[in-house]
């Protein structure tokens, strides 16, 4: 039976019946992944678990997030890839891994990250809080430890997790 694959350490948290397990998250990023996903949701009874600094099979450390009763949208997966480029997404249905795939870092990011340059035109607001009618957009210029370069002001965003919208 192709049950949810979990290590000894992960058994500290109960398997989920349906939902998503995000594995191989860059250590320290689990809480930021939850922030990106807007979890836990207020009023929801679904269990959300974050397991951090777990030894992985490769001997490195990793974080894991388990989300009950929720399958991620592609756009959410793209955003996770920007801060955890080696993460894998496991879709769990009836305790089984129904789908498993690695996140793929996109070539570009648009509307998901704010420019870290406070003087960038994409961060400009008028006195009523209105902004220019464009989405902040970036080219991915480094993949191992992702770096984004703003299409507008040309500055590099290194601490992407802090800039996720």
């Amino acid at each position: 039976m192709n049950t949810e694959v979990v290590s000894q350490k992960e058994m500290k948290v109960s398997p989920i019946r349906n939902g998503t397990v995000i594995d191989h998250i860059t250590p320290g990023m689990a809480l930021k992944v939850l922030r990106i996903l807007g979890l836990p949701r207020e009023g929801s009874r679904s269990v959300v678990s974050a397991i951090m600094n777990v030894p992985s099979e490769s001997g490195r450390r990793k974080d894991i997030v388990k989300i009950e009763d929720r399958e991620l949208e592609p756009e959410e997966v793209d955003r996770i890839s920007l801060i955890a480029p080696n993460a894998t997404i496991n879709i769990i249905r009836d305790y089984e891994v129904a789908e498993k795939h690695k996140v793929a870092l996109p070539e570009r990011a648009e509307g998901t990250v704010a420019c870290s340059n406070p003087n960038c035109i994409t961060n400009a607001r008028d006195e009523f809080g209105r902004r220019e009618p464009v989405l902040a957009s970036f080219r991915v210029i480094a993949k191992e430890k992702p770096v984004l370069r703003c299409d507008y002001c040309d500055r590099d965003v290194v601490n992407i997790a802090d800039q996720i919208m």
Binding site: C115, N117, N119, C120, I121, T122, A124, D126, E127, F128, R130, E132, P133, V134, C150, D151, Y152, C153, D154, R155, D156
Partner: protein
């Protein structure tokens, strides 16, 4: 080489080395017109809109003079407080409207990336006239043109860039372009005003020959071009700290006695004490010529983007 007609110039990297060379070739032909020795009607009937959301009299006047010299007309503003921006209009809307009045726009804006945004809403070519601490590509082109005219070559020239390399807008794009042309570059600055590491990393990607030093005296005999920048007082809340840094480098006639005979001193101007007046009368002083070169270079850019010259 792609044609220039209808294109925008926002970033120096928008142009290949070949395209920069072409602009400089056209600019060389424009010099007699820029001096008023010959007349041009190349841009007759064309209108330049100069939208200056922050003051920069020299850049604005040189663009407007360039358009006039080409036989065209210039409209625009240099005080956003009297434009619709003061009423809360977005830059995007301003550009949409103005691009229906003019054939080409030059934009100066305090926000970085403003010119790139303008290109998304403009139906006519946009030229970046400087955005925040970002790019100022036409300054770079006139600097390159001056180096080419004054030393005969860019590739292989040893260019010392002196002063505020951290905040100085012009030096980041100049260094980028010089590196792509194959010039040898030495950065000369106090430690607190060094070229940002991100910029250095980008330059190294081009395979550029780059060195850095604090010691101007040691490097000056090997330089073909001494490019001096202003250390910006507004960056220093403490006047004593500013005075220490501002006094780090001063080009004097005496100092230049150690320089190569044909070495040239350039400065984007205005200068505030980095170059002593006794340098003005030496053959090394080429910064006023550099300033004049803004006109033929901007004429070339306007003419090429308007498609009235190929």
């Amino acid at each position: 080489m792609a044609g220039f007609k209808g294109r925008h110039i926002v970033h120096i990297e928008d142009l290949s080395v070949e395209e920069m060379q072409h602009i400089m070739g056209v600019a060389a032909k424009m010099v007699p017109v820029a001096r008023g020795e010959r007349k041009s009607t190349a841009a007759q009937g064309k209108v330049l809109a100069s939208l200056f959301f922050e003051p920069s009299t020299r850049t604005r006047l040189s663009f407007e003079a360039s358009m006039e010299r080409l036989g065209g007309a210039a409209i625009g503003f240099s005080d956003p407080d009297v434009s619709s921006v003061a009423k809360g209009e977005t830059l995007a809307d301003t550009i949409r409207v103005i691009s229906s009045y003019a054939d080409i726009i030059v934009l100066r804006h305090p926000r970085e990336g403003a010119s790139r945004l303008a290109t998304k809403f403009s139906s006519v070519p946009v030229i970046n006239g400087g955005d925040g601490a970002g790019q100022h590509p036409t300054q770079t082109l006139l600097d390159l043109f001056t180096i080419q005219q004054e030393t005969g070559k860019i590739a292989g020239s040893h260019v010392g860039i002196v002063g505020d390399l951290k905040y100085g807008r012009t030096v980041h794009s100049l260094a980028n372009a010089l590196a792509r042309f194959g010039a040898e570059i030495t950065f000369v600055s106090p430690p607190q005003l060094q070229m940002p590491s991100e910029q250095v990393a980008r330059l190294k990607e081009t395979g550029a020959s780059i060195k850095a030093t604090q010691d101007l005296n040691a490097v000056i005999p090997s330089l073909d071009v001494i490019y001096v920048t202003r250390i910006q007082k507004e960056r220093y809340p403490d006047a004593t700290e500013y005075a220490k840094v501002a006094g780090s480098y001063q080009i004097t006639a005496d100092l230049l006695s150690q320089a190569k005979k044909h070495a040239v001193v350039l400065h984007p101007l205005p200068r505030v004490g980095e170059i002593k007046e006794d340098v003005d009368s030496t053959p090394h002083a080429r910064y006023f010529q550099q300033s004049f070169n803004g006109v033929p270079v901007r004429m070339a850019i306007l003419a090429l983007l308007l498609g009235v010259v190929e």
